[in-house]
């Protein structure tokens, strides 16, 4: 039994090491087109994982993650183009400002639950979108902001890829730690039964607000990274369609699993590129995917795998008991 568990842990570490090695050597294996696609996946994985701290861990269904993602992106873009501050500081400012905006938006949103909470998040995201879209003098309106003074070192696609890899991995480690901390456990208790959580002495609204702020900061970090990556920002970043992308990614990969949003973003982006290169009806396929997920695979891909895996593990364990018993 102990040997078996140890083996699982070792295998887990081995997988992680292999994954890291894979991502490090990747630029030498694939062309620039594919590499920028992987970069997009990394950034989306961070955004979706940030959203999932609310969605999967705390059970707060937000329809407006893109609003905060856009706040991060525009913060970086505005700092870079309007002030002369160094690139790294402009990137760091993204999650900070997104977190601050998240604190204001969240303060209102956590006052309501369920569908009212979801509608409030959507409304605030639409407000952010409208501000970006209409305020030509400051945000460039629907022209967006193009041409970031990105340092020469990060101009090449593979260099920027390494930069986002490091930032995304650090953020994911932080998110993993938060999810597995006492704070994270309490968030999961809130997801399972907010009413009962009050009666174990937890100020549920305060925890939900903190989760909202943290989630916003990670969404903002993803936005900042994408701003540097695409060298531009557009009002589309705050559009509800972008929010839908993030929610579907969490659903596809599995909300109740840390790796879910990561796997989800890889598969979602691959699918969207593949399908839209054959047909213009990507949205039709997206609709079908969502229907199938919600009807048959609510745990997403990771939920499906871990379900299969846990029955396998159970089988191995039982066999082990049987062997020692006889």
């Amino acid at each position: 039994m102990k040997g078996f568990l140890e083996r699982v842990v070792v295998i887990k570490r081995l997988w992680l090491a292999m994954a890291v090695a894979f991502f490090v050597v990747l630029p030498f294996l694939i062309g620039e087109g594919w590499l920028s696609l992987v970069n997009e996946m990394l950034i989306m994985a961070l955004a979706a994982s940030g959203l999932n701290l609310m969605l999967g861990y705390t059970g707060m269904v937000s329809f407006g993650p893109a609003g905060l993602y856009a706040v991060g992106a525009y913060t970086t873009a505005l700092f870079l183009t309007k002030t002369g501050i160094p690139f790294v500081i402009a990137i760091v400012a993204g999650p900070i400002v997104a977190g601050a905006v998240g604190a204001i938006v969240g303060w209102f949103c956590v006052r309501r639950t369920h569908v009212y909470f979801a509608l409030l998040t959507l409304a605030f995201a639409q407000i952010i979108w409208t501000i970006i879209f209409e305020w030509y003098g400051f945000t460039g309106g629907d022209n967006g902001i193009v041409g970031m003074p990105v340092p020469d070192l990060l101009m090449s696609i593979s260099h920027y890829y390494y930069f986002s890899l490091v930032v995304v991995v650090i953020c994911l480690i932080l998110l993993w730690m938060i999810g597995n901390s006492p704070f994270g456990k309490i968030l999961q208790a809130i997801r399972e039964n907010p009413g009962r959580t009050e009666f174990i002495g937890i100020n549920v609204k305060r925890y939900q607000l903190i989760a909202f702020v943290l989630s916003s900061a990670f969404l903002g970090a993803a936005g900042s990274l994408f701003c540097g990556f695409s060298d531009s920002v557009f009002p589309d970043y705050a559009h509800w369609a972008k929010s839908t992308d993030m929610i579907v990614i969490c659903l596809l990969g599995g909300m109740y699993n840390f790796a879910g949003p990561i796997i989800g973003s890889i598969i979602y982006i691959l699918l969207s590129k593949l399908i839209s290169s054959y047909t213009m009806y990507w949205m039709l396929f997206l609709g079908i995917i969502v229907v199938l997920l919600v009807l048959f695979m609510r745990g997403g891909i990771m939920g499906f795998i871990s379900e299969k895996l846990s029955s396998k593990i159970q089988e191995i364990r039982l066999r082990g008991q049987y062997d020692t018993g006889s």
């Binding site: 730690m177 901390s181 006492p182 002495g201």
Partner: protein, 247 residues
């Protein structure tokens, strides 16, 4: 006096669910509230624990007015409760159900970056053992048998380290054997930990088995209180409980 309530009243749509109830609970007393369905027992619990705001009246816990406090503050002050209907964290394991409450009791909710898995395990294990669930700690709460879920519910309440524990029908839906076991368990836990206990029950055997004091509720009021033998001997209580049989 650990808990005092004065003139608690709550009405729902003109019906007084709890009508001018006053009560005093002594330290380390095991007291029971009995009464027919709809007598207002659960509503009274909800008023005492901040679940429902009272229309009027006051609740004093250890000399402190807790009437206006939100539920989590009342819990932190030392009042724990369990619920009549199953009210656990269904997709967390039995262990996590209890550990989360221990985290809250030990004020660990603010640690964002330490590994929960390795923290306060002994405390959580101790609680699980005391409610007899140590062999099921890896099982998801929602998948436990009904009786086990009821015991887990008590475990969650205990893990908050309350001084005063309110149990709302802790044996509801249990088999007679489970009821006897759980009753014994509750009495043992309360005496060992020096808890003050108020519990609502339907099962008269449970009540007479462990209660020091019994309060009888009827139509939102406490109509009688006293020792178990007094209650048994009281005609009015017999009439409320047995109704038509004794005319």
């Amino acid at each position: 006096m650990i808990l005092e309530a004065e003139g608690l009243t709550k009405s729902f749509g003109g019906l007084n669910a709890v009508d001018d109830v006053s009560l005093q609970i002594e330290e380390k007393e095991l007291s029971s509230i009995i009464g027919p369905n709809g007598a207002g027992k659960t509503t009274l619990f909800n008023l005492l624990t901040g679940h429902t705001p009272a229309d009027s009246g006051r609740v004093i816990f250890r000399g402190r007015d807790i009437t206006e406090l939100p539920p989590h503050m009342i819990c932190r002050a030392g009042v724990g409760r369990s619920f009549q209907r199953l009210n656990i964290f269904p997709r967390l394991t039995a262990f996590d159900n209890v550990q989360v409450a221990v985290f809250s009791a030990q004020r660990k909710g603010g640690s964002l970056f330490s590994r929960a898995e390795k923290m306060l395990r002994e405390e959580a294990d101790e609680v699980l053992e005391s409610v007899g669930l140590d062999d099921k700690k890896g099982v998801q709460g929602g998948l436990l048998a009904h009786g086990d879920q009821k015991r887990l519910e008590i475990g969650i309440a205990l893990a908050c380290q309350p001084e005063l524990l309110l149990l709302d029908e802790p044996t509801a839906g249990m088999s007679p054997r489970e009821t006897i076991e759980t009753t014994g368990l509750i009495e043992k836990l309360a005496r060992e930990r020096g808890l003050t206990l108020i519990f609502v029950e339907h099962d008269m055997n449970v009540v007479f088995g462990i209660a020091d004091k019994i309060k009888v509720m009827h139509q939102g009021r406490i109509v009688f209180e006293g020792k178990p033998e007094d209650v048994r001997a009281n005609d009015e209580v017999q009439r409320i409980y047995l109704g038509e049989e004794k005319t």
